[in-house]
Amino acid sequence: MRRTVGAVLRKELRLELRAPQAVPAMALFSVTTLVVFHFALQRGQVDGDLAAGVLWVTLLFAAMLGTSRLFVADHEEGGLDGFLLAPVDRTALLVAKALALLGFLAAFEVVAVPAFGLLLLGPTPDAGAVASLVVVLLLADAGIAVVGTLVSALAVQTRSRDLLVPLLALPLLIPVVIAAAKATTPLFLAGGAEALPGRWLAILGLYDLVFGLLAYAIFDFLLEE
């Protein structure tokens, strides 16, 4: 299992490194969205709950781009058939794809979050706030990666996959948005960052756990031929 996951994950990362597709698209999209927010909100700076909202809408919509492409190459070039022929555990594909998506999300956020800080965020966060933000980002990304992989695997076999991925994934990810926005709001307050509310981290963790287990139990059925 671990060797299979490693092999598929290496293949995903090598593909993305040789012909970058998902990460640059997501990074560019997120920066463009921030510019759109600047004009749509008619504000030079945001703080508090508005800042958290802008950040999470941007990250979530950008993540949809990478999610909908996750299985497309494998589906079109026969990679899925090849994987199904190999005598390996099929759940390995879920784990590898989710880890790859997590990696892509983390990579584009390295661009998107500093861009948000430079372009729109009013108060400058201190080191503690940045560390807390990284924790929230990681927990939320794990949830987005799991649900995104599941939805992407579901949608890739349908005729209208690019339509279905955001339609299915966004309602499923609303608890993540609620918890992540609530958790990051105290970090962006104009009067200085406050402590991270633990309750919302627990909700994010619970969401990751529930959907992780669910995806683990159900993923086999999405690959059967």
Partner: protein
Amino acid sequence: MFGRGLKTLSLLTVVLIVGAFALVFFYAPNDADQGFIQKIFYLHVPLAIVALCGFVAGGIYGIRYLRSGDRQHDLRSYVAIHLSLILAVGALVTGSIWAKASWGVWWTWDEPTLVSFLIVFLLYACYQPLRFSIEDPERQARYAAVFAIVAGAFVPLNFMAVRMAQSLVHPRVLSTTGGSMPGSMRLTFLVSLIGMALLFVTLWKYELASKSATFRLRALKRKLAGDDEVWVPNPRRSAAPTL
């Protein structure tokens, strides 16, 4: 053969629904604050509860389909979700009317139950498009089952997250637990709830019986006249599973 027990069930449903409405109009007292409009509660809340239970039931039949591969379970899951969607529209509309009458607005983001219900509805609204966009019937059934299970598990989690997002001091005036309801109201509510649940089950069974009978009839015709003679093109495009 297909509609066993449907007659008794239908009669029971009619009696209970009529009884529930009689209780609503003649027995239950008018609410002290809201007056007559509060009686929409006896329609709105059962609609919402039965719709949510129907969604979860669709997920349970999804699990059974994946375990057994029996297309009957897929049909059951489909009909349950389809009916629940219709009830959910009813719940949203009646809820909106009630909100307008008692709070003065058509929609409010303060009531967690309302918001989470809308999210669940939006998610399930994708169920039929998903089925439509998969042509292979076997794969369609499998993917629809996976969707039904994921969404069924999402229902309680979503309710928890949305409820926690509201400040805990927000007064839950319209609590559905019946904690502060007087006995006559609670009785009326319970009868309405059971009546609505029975209505759901009756409609579900009718739809299943009708669909199964159609498929059986087609299979028999094919046996008599040969496969090519009775190919019935679907007059209306439908995402419903075929057996």
